[in-house]
């Protein structure tokens, strides 16, 4: 669900004036969600940290040159994070999931854990076969549970276009996953 920050505009204004407290507050409010968002799509905690780091770094760079978001800061940050993730996948393919020693559910057999991770990887691969806009619509709608209006702000597209993207994305995703499930 989109984080509701009543004073987002004020925070953004202060950040543009290089107010350290405001910048810290922005980081504290948005970085946990961005991290989860990146982790869901990337599947790797260290890459997710890199994504958060690079997103905020790009935010600072844009402030420095007098650009950056005029409003809808959260939408801007998620858009930036998603661009980074898309770039990342263009450069490096999704690594195979490895079962480390600390698998999260101790009641779960290692083979079940491996199966679960394999399914997640397949889903990520399918997601990354979509166009970047389609990926972002799916991720924001179904992982982050944003409303279409908020997604429209993040993508800088009309709500109707978002719905259309969502429809096509779901159809493509369904097709891709069915193909994966074939023996």
């Amino acid at each position: 669900m989109k984080t509701n920050v009543p004073n987002e505009a004020e925070l953004l204004q202060k950040a543009k004036q290089y107010d350290r407290q405001a910048l810290a507050q922005i980081y504290d409010i948005y970085s946990p969600g961005l991290y989860r968002y990146a982790l869901r799509l990337l599947g790797d905690p260290s890459q997710a940290e890199d994504c958060v780091s690079e997103t905020f770094s790009r935010f600072l760079k844009s402030l420095r040159v007098g650009k950056g978001p005029k409003d809808y800061l959260q939408a801007y940050l998620y858009r930036t994070a998603h661009n980074w993730i898309a770039d990342q996948y263009r450069r490096v393919p999704i690594p195979p999931e490895e079962l480390d020693e600390s698998h999260p559910d101790e009641n779960e057999l290692p083979e079940e854990e491996v199966g679960k991770r394999h399914r997640k990887r397949q889903l990520r691969l399918a997601l990354h076969s979509l166009t970047p806009d389609q990926q972002q619509v799916i991720a924001l709608k179904y992982f982050e549970e944003w409303a279409n209006e908020d997604i429209a702000q993040a993508l800088k597209k009309p709500v109707g276009a978002v719905k259309s993207l969502q429809h096509r994305a779901l159809a493509s995703l369904q097709r891709l996953l069915e193909k994966q499930d074939l023996p």
């Binding site: 910048l23 991290y35 905020f56 402030l63 999260p104 997640k120 179904y142 995703l173």
Partner: protein
């Protein structure tokens, strides 16, 4: 078009929703990195002076500030008059075994002295850490063992930077600690490289410095994760050092300095600087200014007093 989705697909997507909790330390490091980047990338942000650590400053009262600046200006002007700009410039490349090294330390002291911003103080101290490591590495390459004063001064720079950081507010402290950690990690790496190419005796001397750096990196890591615990540790260390150096005025022996000197004062040193020996018998705990040529010893408040030092503890007089 509507938001309907096949329940199976929905269930499949939900599998990705559940993610493990974020690593606390990684999150703290990321935050610190962001704030450090903000501090360096954006226009200067005022840092509250209130609460800043002032243990090293001899002039601590605002009313004395103008006097201090004037004194520094006169001292710098005199040094330039005597030595000339070219000399000061030339001194910057000198190693501890070279004649203008004392002048090099003096200019460092003067820069620290004239600075009033805690963030900049940390920045300067990290620059000086780099300079000390460069000196040690350069000497090691020539198979010469760096003098103990260089290691001590390196330790003092790091310690002072940590103290300044501990006096900052949480956000600024995180940024400062990140800056310190980055510098120390890089310098430790450079020292390791240099150490591999030198002889055993020199290598041993460098090991001590590297251990100090590694120890301080650990301290910084702890500070990032637990700011209040870090402040307590620094405070405890300060109290210990204050205890060591709280010798009543006028009772100092030949080697150690008075307890309230600043790192910008001259050290407890072996005394001889670029233009003579440190004159200071002064141990009156009064504010002082950096004195050219007052030796390359270490300041007095950070480390265990050196009973073997002789003279040169001056600089405690305004």
């Amino acid at each position: 078009m509507n938001d309907e989705i096949d329940p199976k697909l929905r269930a499949r997507l939900d599998e990705l929703k559940d993610v493990p909790a974020r690593d606390h330390h990684a999150a703290a490091r990321g935050r610190a990195r962001f704030l450090a980047e903000a501090a360096s990338r954006l226009a200067p942000v005022s840092v509250p002076v209130k609460g800043r650590h002032r243990e090293w400053k001899t002039f601590t009262v605002k009313e004395n500030f103008a006097v201090m600046k004037a004194v520094i200006a006169v001292v710098i002007a005199l040094s330039l008059l005597i030595g000339g700009t070219a000399t000061v410039y030339a001194a910057q490349d000198d190693l501890p075994n070279e004649p203008l090294y004392g002048l090099k330390l003096f200019t460092e002291n003067a820069r620290l002295w004239a600075n009033t911003d805690p963030g900049m103080e940390v920045e300067l101290l990290m620059q000086f850490v780099q300079v000390r490591v460069q000196e040690m590495n350069a000497m090691a390459m020539e198979r010469e063992t760096p003098p103990a004063q260089v290691t001590q001064r390196l330790e003092m720079h790091i310690q002072q930077a940590l103290q300044v950081a501990a006096g900052m507010d949480d956000d600024a402290m995180q940024g400062a600690l990140e800056r310190i950690r980055t510098t120390l990690q890089e310098q430790e790496r450079l020292m390791t490289q240099a150490q591999a190419q030198t002889d055993e005796e020199t290598s041993q001397a460098m090991t001590q410095a590297r251990e100090t750096i590694e120890n301080r990196i650990r301290m910084v890591d702890e500070g990032v994760a637990d700011p209040q615990g870090f402040r307590n540790t620094i405070r405890t260390e300060q109290e210990l050092h204050t205890g060591w150096t709280a010798t009543p005025p006028g009772q100092q022996g030949n080697g150690s300095g008075s307890g309230t000197g600043t790192p910008t004062d001259t050290g407890n040193g072996n005394g001889s600087g670029s233009d003579g020996s440190g004159d200071g018998s002064g141990s009156d705990n009064k504010p002082g200014t950096p004195t050219p040529g007052a030796g390359n010893g270490t300041p007095m408040t950070v480390h265990t007093p050196d009973p073997h030092g002789s003279g040169g503890e001056g600089g405690n007089k305004p």
